[in-house]
């Protein structure tokens, strides 16, 4: 009998890519497993045509009210949490995930921002935060926590060294991540079975390229423009250029006023257009016309980028930072920009694209091919189905290890004892 997954995620119309991701993979997922969607926030009823949706009450003793669901005597039932770094969409989910065992899909490795906002909003207390930092990162972690709490260190900066993804995993029965870097980080902690697969994207039908072979270069940057998206650097690179271009900005800013002031100061006001948050079709259309999309990340925790998948879907070329997940991409699917000399490298790239207009098409097509090969929802759904098939085994291992860890807490050599215990209790009958 098919497993039933309790899929905890932001849902459309929530303005986060994780909501779209869920919507995107759902049809393929339903080919393998049954799904009940759980959301802490209101949802677009359209999604209920695909799967039942229930409200998740993060503060209830039993957040999952399973009453009324048809019984599934012969199959596994597993909770799957989608954890990202945005406190707006994930604070409630994280709260439940820390209490009710289930599989955790880590969309971001660095959860310091989320932790910070939860601190600010009283959802976790300073003591718990300090304790978590000390437990996972030792003395340095504890010191960093003091500096963060004293506002001497920003959570984003801290995330590079102390990502704190561990706070999502105390009751995890399995964890799914999307990149090599994240996989290494999670498996180093050794306490849950970890799975890795590429972030999914449902490719739209291939659209004909509409990029102008002459005239100004069309440039795009989109998404939530946090400081690590390097917009300041992009603007500074553009200000020093002597060629014709138009930059369209799509999405939200943490500090729009400051950005507008900077654009004006750099003399770019007539070349940069603010479009705000737009419909997906509008954005996709802009990408199909763009010669280059800026998709830089620094610092980065090495997560896969939903934005990059959208760029590839539009067969567009992107400038990415040469580190983390981006750095590990094949050279032909994106333009890699080093952290050192970022501005100069960007300027050189733009001059080259202006001179070789076909280059954008070429890199865009290679990206699109990669998307179609590795990032399909079908491939992703198969990976989830594998996790579901292992739910009994993984849950057993996770639960017993967690109990063993709890029972051995305070022992001088917990790791050794835990491993010995796990070898005994995790084993199958002969």
């Amino acid at each position: 009998m098919r497993a039933r997954l309790h899929w905890v995620s932001p849902l459309p119309p929530a303005e986060t890519d994780i909501a779209h991701y869920t919507r995107r993979i759902l049809p393929a997922l339903l080919e393998h497993v049954d799904v009940v969607l759980w959301s802490t926030e209101p949802w677009d009823p359209e999604i209920e045509r695909l799967a039942p949706v229930r409200h998740l009450d993060a503060d209830a003793h039993m957040p999952f009210d399973l009453s009324g669901l048809p019984p599934r005597p012969a199959s596994s039932e597993m909770v799957v949490y989608q954890i990202g770094n945005s406190w707006l969409f994930h604070a409630g989910i994280l709260k439940v995930a820390r209490r009710v065992p289930g599989c955790v899909v880590l969309h971001d490795l660095g959860l310091q921002d989320l932790a910070w906002m939860m601190l600010e909003n009283g959802l976790i207390d300073h003591g718990a935060y300090r304790a978590a930092m000390a437990a996972w990162y030792g003395r340095e972690g504890r010191e960093a926590s003091e500096r963060i709490l004293a506002k001497q260190l920003s959570p984003a900066e801290a995330a590079t060294r102390f990502p704190l993804f561990e706070i999502a995993l105390p009751r995890a029965t399995a964890v799914l991540i999307h990149t090599d870097t994240a996989f290494k980080a999670v498996t180093a902690r050794k306490f849950v079975p970890a799975y890795q697969t590429e972030l999914p994207f449902a490719p739209s039908p291939a659209a004909s390229a509409a990029r102008a072979s002459e005239g100004p270069l069309k440039l795009v940057q989109f998404g939530y423009m946090a400081p690590n998206r390097r917009l300041d650097s992009v603007l500074e690179a553009l200000a020093g250029l002597d060629l014709a271009f138009e930059l369209g900005l799509y999405g939200q800013f943490r500090d729009e006023d400051r950005v507008r002031t900077k654009i004006a100061r750099l003399g770019l006001s007539d070349k940069v257009r603010f479009n705000g948050f737009v419909a997906e079709e509008v954005l996709d259309d802009a990408l199909r016309q763009a010669h280059l999309a800026f998709n830089l990340r620094h610092p980065t925790m090495g997560e896969a980028s939903g934005s990059q998948l959208r760029i590839w879907n539009a067969a567009a070329a992107a400038a990415v930072t040469d580190q983390g997940w981006y750095g590990a991409l094949p050279d032909e699917v994106a333009f890699k920009i080093p952290v050192q000399g970022e501005r100069e490298a960007l300027q050189a790239l733009l001059r080259r694209l202006d001179a070789e207009r076909g280059l954008s098409e070429q890199v865009g097509a290679a990206g699109r091919a990669r998307l179609e090969a590795l990032h399909t929802p079908e491939r992703y759904a198969s990976a989830i189905a594998e996790i579901a098939a292992n739910a009994e085994r993984d849950t057993r291992e996770a639960l017993l290890s967690a109990r063993a860890r709890a029972l051995l807490q305070g022992r001088r050599r917990p790791a050794l004892l835990t491993r010995q215990l796990a070898a005994v209790i995790g084993g199958d009958q002969p």
Binding site: H61, L66, P73, A74, E77, T395, R403, A404, D428, Q429
Partner: protein
């Protein structure tokens, strides 16, 4: 071959599963195997702790104990997860909270945040265990096998076993009652049976089994009262195996309607007793053996459907017998034996070794002489006098010197002669009891027993109580050398109603010989008072006629009243006759409730050795061991505590709270404040079935009781010795009459009726009364 039987125990709970493991071990041993029960404790909640219990089981390795254990047989989760290379499973049940109970939405784990994960954990462990190489998986029943198939896709073989008393169950006549043996609890659905009785006017139901939780038997009794069927339901509580076998053998049919029972011995026991089984369509295990209108009746679990089945078997004895016999034949045909079980689990076919077979008692006519010997009264090691004649010659028993004296021939004193053996038996009961201060309750001249008592324990101070109004004192003067005079001081008291006229802890021994059967309203009062006047460790001796003696049985069989003394005594008032005779355990129950431990409870034929053969035949045919069938009950208790509440089974209401005093506390204009003092020894409660209330009656100027029995609640509970005040507004115009206020216990009635709380009368208009009485 050495086998370990793996089972799980929830500490302090012993049920069918625990006995099952013991029975398997016994069956293996009887067939020459070395077998041992290996039990591990289990705490199933919350989910986190359950995971730890499971882990603990997995950490136990029985593969090498320094000597070989050839095989382990796993019966219960999680014990069957213990590690051993040669493991068979005979699954009694899995952890149903994650299987069928989960599916039915009634699992406690569904209210546990860890529940979903724990479900996966247990499924993984069960699947791993049952799929291991080289193992055999048997299920206790088809029902359990089907559950394993449905939930885990694991195939197992049903392996039936006989119920514990299989060899002793027997077939008797088809009686007039429906027998429902099993633990009393919601999962066995006794409430459904009681509801069903309302649809079955001809049916009588006998429930037997201990309650799952204290008080559940009372809950069932209450339901029976509420449904108006209490006179057709008997709730026996826990009973002996012997009695259970008898009740099976004599029932019209057996009722067994559990919710999805795994197996259920009751079905098999009924079949072995050739009783039809009335069961329900959702009962699980029973349905593997019982088909509708073949070995019994299978009905929907509703009061109406079950009631119709009750009525059918109650009014159709021939059908009941036919189905019962069919069940008996079906059981025999199935070959359900321990031989088969042991063969399946060991791979070796063996029968019970000759010297291991239990002896089978042979039926034979009762040996009346042996029975009479069993009921011979105890006698003291050193009788104070060799005969009644000798005693009567030893002292001058005259109360008016020279005017009255019993003649010194026993045959002229038939009462004394007939009670002589009882006196000796009484002395034998207290032979080992120390103490110098003796209180003998209910004495009257001639004081012959007291003379025996004085000779048994020289230097003792003997005090008596009688029902005369005046005290009395007598000195028995010896009539021959070597005897000391005997002083007896007698005090007046009504021992059923009044405090004994002695201080606390002033006595060593209280004797109440042939007294308690005369009590008419409150026997427990006397037991409690006896406790008060006795020192800690002091003793109370009761002798009283046995209402369940073989003699009473003979009287009933002959169609006579079973009283030992059933005469009215017009000159003796209410206490002259026997108001209530007792059965042995009732005396112990009263004594133990009053703070005594039973030192000895026995019965004896103290008046007559004759045993009616018909009565003896009836009793011995029911495996009655006869020891409690003597005509007199002798009970000796030792004071080890203080009195608790009166045993509820003896009383309507709570006797120890039924006394109070009403008075007018003050008047404030039209408002009268009435004060109710609790003069009893138990707190009054203001709510519930035993609440103390005020009853209000209104009597008009002509003395006619116009409005009886309105009641108002007390404002709060009242501890002993404390009071409640109730304000009554009595103003208003109209004809003046009398407001009568009384204390009224909701469970019992007005206290005034027993003289335990005199009513208060106040002038009051009818209008004011009606204003008070209306809610």
């Amino acid at each position: 071959m050495r086998l370990g039987v793996l089972t799980t125990q929830t500490p302090f709970i012993i049920g069918g599963a625990e006995r099952h493991a013991a029975n398997l071990v016994a069956a293996l041993k009887a067939r020459g195997f070395e077998a041992c029960e290996i039990s591990i404790p289990f705490k199933p909640f919350p989910g986190r702790v359950l995971a730890e219990s499971l882990m603990a089981a997995k950490l136990i390795d029985l593969s090498d104990l320094g000597y070989p254990v050839d095989r382990v047989v796993g019966l219960k989760f999680p014990a069957y997860l213990v590690r051993h290379p040669d493991k068979y499973y005979w699954i009694l049940h899995q952890h149903r909270q994650v299987y069928d109970m989960w599916e039915a939405g009634v699992s406690e784990l569904q209210q546990d945040p860890d529940g979903l994960a724990v479900r996966e954990l247990i499924r993984a462990e069960d699947r791993s265990a049952f799929s291991a190489r080289d193992t055999q998986v048997f299920a206790n029943s088809q029902n359990v096998a089907a559950r394993m198939q449905r939930h885990l896709g694991i195939t197992s073989t049903p392996l039936y076993h006989p119920p514990p008393n299989a060899e002793r169950l027997r077939v008797g006549p088809y009686g007039d009652y429906l027998f429902a043996p099993s633990r009393l609890g919601p999962s066995k659905r006794q409430t459904l049976m009681i509801e069903a009785l309302t649809h079955a006017p001809s049916a009588r139901l006998v429930l037997a089994g201990p309650p799952d939780r204290p008080g559940y038997d009372a809950t069932l009794a209450k339901l029976a009262r509420e449904r108006g069927v209490a006179d057709r339901v008997e709730i026996l509580g826990a009973i002996s195996d012997e009695r259970m076998i008898r009740l099976y053998a004599g029932a019209r049919a057996v009722v067994f309607v559990p919710v999805d029972e795994d197996y259920g011995y009751i079905t098999l026991e009924a079949m072995l007793s050739a009783r039809p089984v009335i069961t329900a369509t959702d009962a699980g295990g029973p349905l593997e053996f019982i088909a509708d209108a073949r070995e019994g009746l299978v009905v929907e679990p509703t009061p109406a459907a079950l009631g119709a089945a009750f009525e059918r078997v109650s009014t159709s004895p021939k059908e009941a017998e036919r189905w019962g016999q069919a069940g008996h034949a079906a059981f025999q045909a199935k070959g359900i034996t321990w031989d088969a079980v042991v063969a399946a689990l060991t791979g070796e076919q063996r029968s019970v070794l000759p010297d291991a077979a239990p002896p089978r008692p042979e039926a034979r006519a009762p040996d009346l002489k042996a029975l009479a010997g069993l009921l011979a009264p105890p006698t003291p090691a050193n009788p104070p006098f060799e005969s009644l004649d000798a005693l009567l010659k030893a002292y001058d028993f005259a109360t008016v010197p020279g005017f009255w004296a019993p003649r010194a021939e026993a045959d002229k004193h038939p009462y004394l002669a007939s009670h002589w053996r009882r006196y000796l038996a009484t002395l034998a009961m207290i032979e080992d009891v120390d103490g110098a201060y003796l209180l003998d309750v209910g004495v009257s001249p001639p004081f012959v027993f007291q003379a025996m008592l004085a000779r048994q324990r020289p230097n003792a101070a003997i005090t008596g109580i009688w029902s005369e109004r005046h005290p009395h004192r007598q000195r028995l003067v010896p009539q021959r050398a070597g005897l000391e005079p005997v002083e007896i001081a007698v005090h007046p008291a009504n021992v059923e109603r009044e405090a004994l006229p002695f201080g606390p802890a002033s006595q060593d021994l209280v004797l109440a010989m042939e007294i308690v059967e005369h009590f008419a309203v409150d026997p427990f009062h006397f037991f409690s008072e006896a406790n008060r006047v006795l020192r800690p460790g002091g003793h109370l001796l009761i002798t009283t006629p046995n209402m369940s003696s073989h003699r009473s049985v003979a009287k009933i069989l002959a169609g006579n009243s079973p009283y030992s003394f059933g005469l009215f005594v017009p000159v003796g008032g209410v206490h002259g006759r026997h108001n209530r005779e007792y059965v042995p355990r009732e005396v112990a129950i009263l004594g133990e409730a009053a703070g005594f431990s039973t030192v000895r409870l026995c019965t004896a034929d103290v008046y007559d050795d004759h045993i009616d053969p018909a009565a003896a035949a009836v009793l011995t045919a029911r495996d009655d061991d006869f020891s409690m069938r003597g005509e007199t009950i002798l009970w000796l208790g030792r004071k080890t505590g203080t009195p608790g509440p009166a045993p509820e089974a003896f009383y309507h209401g709570r006797p120890e709270q039924l006394s109070g005093r009403l008075s007018l506390a003050r008047r404030e204009g039209d408002t009268l404040v009435v004060r109710a003092d609790n003069t009893s020894r138990r707190a009054w409660v203001a709510e519930g079935p035993f609440a103390m209330t005020l009853s209000l009656d209104w009597i008009d100027a002509h003395g006619t009781l116009v409005h009886p029995s309105a009641q108002i609640e007390l404002p709060h509970g009242v501890p002993p010795g404390e009071s409640a005040e109730i304000a009554l507004v009595l103003g208003g115009d109209g004809a003046l009459g009398t407001l009568r206020i009384g204390l009224f216990e909701a469970g019992a009635g007005p206290l005034a009726g027993a003289g335990r709380g005199a009513p208060l009368a106040l002038p009051c208009t009818e209008a004011a009364f009606l204003a008070l009485a209306r809610p």
